[in-house]
C-alpha cells in the first residue's frame, strides 16, 4: 500500500531531499534560545508543583473528590515529567542552556526504567536504527509481532493479551527492555553480565516502588491505602498514555520496517527518508501535543531529535512541503484513527501474514 504512496527517489533526489531537511533543522537550531529555556523551565515548574498538589490532595482522600482530583493531577504530572520534560531533555534538546538540572546526560525521570538504559536503547539504538528489523528493539519490544516481516510463532497467537499487559505495565517493560532477558534464557548472555546490568535497574525499581507505595502512603497515616491506590492509578494512567502515544508513532498502517541490508551505504538523505517512513503523527490541540511530549509530531521528532520539541508543530509545516515536493507520504491522522490501525496490526499479525513485497522501495 505504502509503495504507491511514496515515490522512489534517485540518489540525486535523495541528496536534495536530505539537504532541504538539513536546512530546516539548521534554521530551527539557530533560533533556539531564551524562549525555549523559559518554556522548559515552565514545564519543569508545572511538573514539580502539580506533583506536590496531587500528592497533597491524596492526603485528603477521606473526601472522595479529593482522591479523584489528586490522582488525576498526579497522573498528569507524571505524564508531563515522562514526555515533555524527561524524554525531551534526555535527547539533549536543552543542553544549550548549560543547566546541570536540565542536562541530557544526567537527567533522571520519575519512571521505573533508568535514564541510562533509556539513553542507550532509545536515544541511540531506536533513533539510529529506526524500524530496522533486528536492530531496533522497539519493533514489538521483543514481545509483539506488528509487521508481516517478523517471523510468526505460535506465541504470537495470544498477543492481544501480551499487548494489553505491556500497556498496563509499560514502565516496567521499558525498565527491562535493555536487559534483553530473552538472551539470558537462550544462554546467549552470561549470568555475570546480567547480574551487573541488573544492579542499577533493581536499585531504580526499588526506589520507585518504595517512594510511591511505601513512603508517601506512610506519610498519609490513616490514608495509607487511599494514597497507595492513588499512586497506583496515576502510574497506570501514565503507562497507558505513553504506550498509546508511542505505539501510534510507529505502528500505524503505513509505517514500514526495513531489512538490515538497507544500512549499506546509507547516506543522510536516505536516513531521513527511513525516519520519515517509520514514523506517524497524531493531530490534536495544543494541550494534547504538550501532554504527548510533542511525540504527536513523531515524524519531526525522528527527523530532528535534538531540536526542542516545542518547535515541532512549526517545523511540521515545512516538512510537509518537502514531502509533497518529493512525493512522500506524510503519515498523519487523528488519535482514534491511528490507534485503530495499531490495534488492527496487533490482532492481524497475531495470525500468520505475508509482506506484500520483500523490500520496500526506497530509491531507484
Amino acid at each position: 500500500m505504502s509503495h504507491v504512496k511514496n515515490r522512489p527517489l534517485s540518489p540525486e533526489q535523495l541528496d536534495a531531499f536530505g539537504a532541504e531537511l538539513d536546512a530546516i533543522q539548521q534554521t530551527a537550531l539557530q533560533d533556539v534560545g531564551d524562549v525555549d529555556a523559559r518554556y522548559i523551565r515552565r514545564v519543569l515548574k508545572t511538573v514539580r508543583y502539580s506533583e506536590v498538589i496531587g500528592r497533597a490532595l491524596l492526603y485528603f482522600s477521606f473526601f472522595p473528590p479529593a482522591w479523584i482530583l489528586g490522582t488525576l493531577v498526579l497522573g498528569i504530572s507524571k505524564i508531563l515529567d515522562n514526555m515533555e520534560l524527561g524524554h525531551n531533555v534526555m535527547h539533549g534538546q536543552y543542553d544549550f542552556m548549560n543547566d546541570p538540572a536540565l542536562n541530557g546526560k544526567t537527567f533522571e525521570w520519575d519512571i521505573a526504567g533508568t535514564s541510562d538504559n533509556w539513553r542507550q536503547s532509545h536515544n541511540y539504538l531506536h533513533h539510529t536504527y529506526t524500524n530496522i528489523k533486528g536492530m531496533d528493539a522497539d519493533i514489538g519490544y521483543g514481545l509483539l509481532r506488528l509487521f508481516p516481516e517478523q517471523r510468526w510463532r505460535p506465541f504470537y497467537l495470544l498477543q492481544p493479551i501480551w499487548a494489553f499487559l505491556l500497556a498496563v505495565l509499560f514502565q516496567w517493560g521499558v525498565a527491562i527492555q535493555e536487559l534483553e532477558l530473552g538472551k539470558v534464557f537462550s544462554g546467549r548472555k552470561s549470568k555475570a553480565v546480567i547480574k551487573k546490568e541488573l544492579e542499577p535497574v533493581l536499585k531504580k525499581a526499588r526506589y520507585q516502588l518504595l517512594k510511591d507505595y511505601v513512603f508517601f502512603p506512610l506519610l498519609g497515616g490513616p490514608m495509607f491505602f487511599a494514597v497507595l491506590s492513588g499512586n497506583l492509578t496515576a502510574n497506570l494512567m501514565r503507562n497507558l498514555w505513553t504506550y498509546m502515544i508511542i505505539f501510534c508513532g510507529h505502528f500505524t498502517a503505513d509505517a514500514e520496517v526495513f531489512p538490515k541490508s538497507i544500512m549499506e551505504k546509507e547516506g543522510r538523505g536516505h536516513w531521513y527518508l527511513r525516519q520519515l517512513r517509520g514514523s506517524s503523527n497524531l493531530r490534536g490541540g495544543k494541550i494534547f501535543h504538550i501532554l504527548s511530549g510533542n511525540l504527536s509530531h513523531q515524524i519531526e521528532h525522528h527527523l530532528f531529535p535534538t531540536v526542542p520539541a516545542r518547535r515541532y508543530a512549526e517545523l511540521s509545516v515545512k516538512v510537509q512541503e518537502v514531502c509533497k515536493k518529493y512525493g512522500q507520504n506524510y503519515n498523519s491522522g487523528s488519535l482514534p484513527s491511528q490507534f485503530g490501525q495499531v490495534l488492527y496490526r496487533i490482532f492481524r499479525h497475531a495470525l500468520p501474514s505475508k509482506p506484500s513485497s520483500a523490500v520496500p522501495a526506497m530509491g531507484v
Binding site: A101, Q120, T306
Partner: protein, 363 residues
C-alpha cells in the same frame, strides 16, 4: 554544633531521597533560599560602583561553599538569553570574611557577562558560583613577613587587592610595594581605600602608573621602573597579575632574581583558528589528568579514539547525544552547522565537533 549539622544533613538526606537532589534544589530556590544539595549558590549582598568603570559585588555563598584564600578565584555563572554563561573572577577580599565574597567586575563593552552583571544584577539576585581555586596566595608562618612586590595591570588588581588587604590586617604591614598599571587616571580602582591603607601603614607604598594617559604616560613595565620604585628584588616575593603579555614581561624581568615569583594571567580570549589549515591542538582531559594532541581536521570523537581513549558514543552522527560531554574551556566548531562554540562550561557532542584551539574537556 556537630549535633546540629548531623541532624540537618539527616533531614536533608531524607528529603532528598523522596524528591531527589534536583527536586531539593528546585524547592530551595522556590522558597527563596540559596540552599542546595551540592551546588554553590550565592546571594548578592551589595553592589558598589567604584567610579572606575567597574563594580564590586559582594556575595553570600550557601553552606556548600568551602571557603577560600586571598588571591583565589571563583567561577560565576549567570543565565543570559537562556544560556548559562560562566566566567572566572578574582576574589578581592580576605579569607576572614568567608561568608562574604567580593568580586570586582570591569565593564567590557564586548563582554556578555560583564554587561549582564553591570545592568541586571541587583541586591538579592542569586548567582551560581564554583569553589575557589587558584594558587596565588601568601605564605603562612614567619615567611609572610618577607617584603612583597605586587604587580597589577588593569583588572589584575582584584586578587592582589586581596593579598594587600591580608598583609594590612596584621598589626604592622610588612614592607610591601604595589605597582598598578592602567590606561589613565580614570581607570584606577580602590583609590580611596589604597590612600587610606598607605596612611595607616608606613611600610606600604602604592604607585599608580598610566600607559595611555593623555597628560603623560609612565609606560609599560620595565627594569628601571622597578629598580626606581621598589629597588632590589632579591629578598622579595613577587606577585603579578594581568593580561598574558604583561605577566610574561614581568616573568622575564623578575622570575630569576626574586625570592619567589607567582603570576597569573587572565585566560586568553578564545582563538578562532582557520579550520582549513591543518593544525595540531592540545586537549586537556581534566578528569583523567591527561593531555593529548589532536588534529583540527577530525572530529573530537575520532581523535580521542585514535589515541586509545574510550569515550561513550552511539550514532556518530549527532542525533543520539550519547557522546555529549562538558567542554570546560576553549572553542569548537560544529562540523554539521559550522557554528562556533566559545563558551566555557558548555555541553558539546564530540562526534560532530572539531577543536579550533586548545581545549579542556571533562573527561
Amino acid at each position: 554544633m556537630s549535633l546540629q549539622t548531623s541532624k540537618q544533613s539527616f533531614s536533608k538526606r531524607a528529603l532528598a531521597s523522596l524528591i531527589g537532589p534536583d527536586g531539593y534544589d528546585f524547592w530551595a530556590r522556590e522558597f527563596g533560599t540559596t540552599a542546595a544539595w551540592q551546588r554553590c549558590f550565592a546571594r548578592v549582598l551589595c553592589v558598589e560602583r567604584n567610579g572606575c568603570n567597574s563594580l564590586s559585588i559582594h556575595l553570600r555563598p550557601n553552606k556548600n561553599f568551602a571557603g577560600f584564600q586571598a588571591g583565589q578565584h571563583i567561577n560565576v555563572t549567570a543565565e543570559i538569553e537562556g544560556r548559562r554563561l560562566t566566567r572566572s573572577y578574582s576574589l578581592s577580599n580576605t579569607a576572614n570574611s568567608a561568608m562574604n565574597l567580593e568580586i570586582t567586575v570591569r565593564h567590557d563593552p564586548q563582554g556578555k557577562m560583564s554587561g549582564h552583571l553591570h545592568t541586571a544584577i541587583k541586591v538579592g539576585s542569586v548567582l551560581e558560583i564554583s569553589q575557589a581555586f587558584g594558587g596565588m596566595s601568601l605564605p603562612s608562618g614567619p615567611e609572610c613577613e618577607n617584603p612583597a612586590l605586587l604587580l597589577a595591570a588593569g583588572s589584575g588588581i582584584s586578587p592582589l587587592m586581596g593579598l594587600l588587604r591580608q598583609r594590612c590586617e596584621t598589626k604592622t604591614c610588612p614592607p610591601t610595594t604595589l605597582l598598578y598599571w592602567d590606561y589613565d587616571d580614570a581607570h584606577f580602582c580602590f583609590k580611596d581605600e589604597l590612600n587610606q591603607l598607605c596612611a595607616n601603614n608606613p611600610q606600604l607604598h602604592v604607585h599608580r602608573l598610566t600607559t595611555r594617559s593623555a597628560a603623560q604616560a609612565d609606560g609599560r613595565i620595565s627594569e628601571e621602573q622597578i629598580k626606581q620604585l621598589h629597588g632590589d628584588c632579591r629578598d622579595t616575593m613577587v606577585y603579578a597579575c594581568g593580561g598574558s603579555d604583561f605577566v610574561e614581561a614581568a616573568r622575564a624581568l623578575l622570575s630569576t632574581q626574586a625570592r619567589d615569583f607567582t603570576a597569573e594571567a587572565f585566560t586568553p580570549p578564545a582563538t578562532t583558528a582557520n579550520s582549513e589549515v591543518q593544525q595540531q591542538i592540545a586537549i586537556q582531559l581534566n578528569r583523567s589528568g591527561r593531555t593529548i594532541t589532536v588534529s583540527n581536521q577530525e572530529s573530537l570523537l575520532d581523535a580521542l579514539e585514535a589515541q586509545g581513549i574510550a569515550v561513550e558514543s552511539g550514532c556518530r552522527m549527532g542525533i543520539c547525544n550519547t557522546c555529549s560531554c562538558q567542554k570546560l574551556q576553549g572553542s569548537t566548531t560544529n562540523q554539521f552547522s559550522g557554528e562556533q562554540n566559545n563558551a566555557t562550561n558548555s555541553s558539546i557532542r564530540l562526534c560532530i565537533s572539531r577543536a579550533n584551539g586548545p581545549l579542556q574537556l571533562d573527561l
